[in-house]
């Protein structure tokens, strides 16, 4: 058992808060290992036979599976448990953050370290983040409750750890580890002087990159101010050197051709169809000739069987991940071409969710993340 690393800006839980958080974690492990798998016998044992009996054929896609599976009592009960577990993640974490907030704000001010933070209150929260609180974090990434607030970031740091059941490693930075490893395997000789990470939230991923590449200048942008403030403090706490700024990835204020790498870690599925087009276009503008765009995200619908596809989309309907739906079927090659990239230099890589020291974020070793890569 590897406990989460509690760096100096971490909202450490007290006795009962820790018990509550651990319960939610164990409840989710129980759901994933003992309850979720029962959806398969429920489907193949009764839902599918009933469908075939009524229609004389199998469901043709995940949408048809959805119509019948959502009426199945096993699926309903699992869903209710899963939804409650998600709500309880945040509630159990917010207790600890709320109790210590004044102290955390003070600690953040006093922390010494590298990097910088540039906020811009004129940056608007995009519509796709205002419609609903994505994955149910109350107040989402952007709600300020106090001057210099960082609570949303503190909540995210612990909440996503419990969400993934520790699957992103003790430092909760597994996505950065995966992509950094992939980059060097793919481009062993590329020199990187300047890197931009889009939609960095608390900078978990980009801070990992930064500690591994001390000679590189790292920039990280997000629209959510409290996450950026926490991210800056967290980066200092873990010894990273990152320049955070509050900017919309669809249109930034960086100069043309000023980055060797522009990247994102699970940003795209939380933005709109139009935003993805704008983001790719912005990446093209920001890259130096020969520079690399890399976006790591969640799996698309292609190649999944109807039941699998339906189950993957549980989060769209029940965890406020509404925008993941459009990415599931998006022709990203077309988006890249329209953004200016040469279609011959665009590729979707399926990247294994493991990293060098043998850690794997997900127990299923076959699990891969799509990474959308284009070279300018």
């Amino acid at each position: 058992m590897i406990p989460q690393t509690m760096h100096s800006i971490f909202a450490k839980p007290n006795h009962d808060e820790a018990s509550r958080q651990n319960f939610v974690n164990d409840f989710r492990v129980h759901l994933a290992s003992k309850v979720f798998p029962g959806n398969f016998p429920a489907y193949f044992g009764r839902v599918l036979p009933a469908f075939i009996k009524a229609q004389g054929r199998e469901p043709k896609d995940r949408h048809e599976v959805r119509k019948v599976m959502t009426k199945d009592p096993y699926y309903q009960l699992w869903s209710a448990m899963q939804r409650n577990s998600q709500e309880m993640i945040w509630d159990s974490v917010i207790d600890a953050v709320e109790r210590q907030l004044p102290d955390l704000l003070k600690k953040a001010k006093d922390l010494k370290g590298k990097g910088s933070l540039t906020l811009n209150p004129n940056v608007e929260v995009p519509k796709y983040h205002n419609a609903a609180d994505i994955h149910l974090q109350p107040g989402a990434y952007h709600t300020d409750v106090a001057p210099d607030d960082l609570s949303a970031g503190a909540i995210y740091d612990r909440g996503t750890y419990i969400y993934s059941m520790g699957g992103l490693g003790a430092e909760n930075d597994g996505l950065g580890r995966i992509l950094q490893k992939f980059f060097h395997k793919q481009y062993p000789d590329k020199k990187i002087e300047r890197v931009l990470d889009m939609g960095c939230t608390i900078g978990g991923s980009v801070s990992f990159w930064s500690t591994k590449e001390p000679g590189t200048e790292f920039h990280a942008i997000d629209v959510g101010a409290p996450c950026l403030r926490y991210g800056h403090a967290r980066a200092k706490a873990v010894g990273a050197n990152v320049h955070f700024s509050q900017q919309n990835a669809e249109k930034t204020n960086f100069l043309d051709a000023s980055f060797d790498v522009v990247t994102s870690h699970i940003l795209l599925h939380e933005t709109s169809r139009q935003a993805i087009q704008n983001i790719f276009k912005e990446c093209y503008r920001l890259l130096k000739p020969g520079g690399v765009m890399m976006h790591l995200d969640l799996p698309q619908a292609f190649g999944q069987n109807p039941l699998e596809g339906f189950l993957w989309e549980w989060e769209i309907y029940n965890n406020n991940e509404h925008f993941y739906g459009q990415l599931r079927e998006l022709d990203t090659a077309d988006v890249a071409t329209k953004a200016g990239f040469d279609p011959a230099k665009f590729k979707i890589h399926q990247v294994a969710s493991t990293w060098d020291d043998g850690q794997t974020p997900y127990s299923n070793e076959n699990f891969t993340f799509p990474v959308y890569v284009a070279v300018k």
Binding site: D16, S19, F40, S151
Partner: protein
């Protein structure tokens, strides 16, 4: 909580899905799961008290509040919670796939981690 305490938002914006025909059943599920969590928290607290009594003979509230389960203790608690969850939710679990469909049935990996973290 003192009056001056900063309050954080507690409810996520967006419609809460209804999974059952009767919304009361959805609400009952929340009651039951929350209650299960509280029993588990209480159990940890009793466990803390017992451990401290074993080692110190007499204890104060502060001793309890300051106690943090070392990894070995947390592993024991985790095993206990595993058994507890299996008991409370015992009628609703199924990990056996029908033979005929095993090959087709690939669970979504995202939900598959069995790793336990504190």
């Amino acid at each position: 909580m003192p009056e001056t305490q900063i309050r954080l938002p507690r409810v996520a914006k967006g419609k809460r899905p209804q999974f059952f025909d009767d919304p009361a059943v959805d609400q009952m599920m929340t009651f039951i799961i929350e209650l299960s969590a509280e029993v588990s928290v209480l159990y940890d607290r009793v466990d803390t008290i017992e451990r401290l009594l074993d080692s110190k003979g007499t204890i104060s509230r502060t001793d309890i509040e300051n106690y943090r389960a070392p990894d070995a203790v947390e592993s024991e608690r985790m095993a206990r919670r595993d058994g507890y969850l299996k008991r409370v939710f015992r009628m609703h679990q199924n990990t056996t796939l029908p033979k005929a469909v095993k090959s087709k049935a690939k669970p979504a990996p995202k939900e598959k981690s069995k790793k336990r973290r504190k």
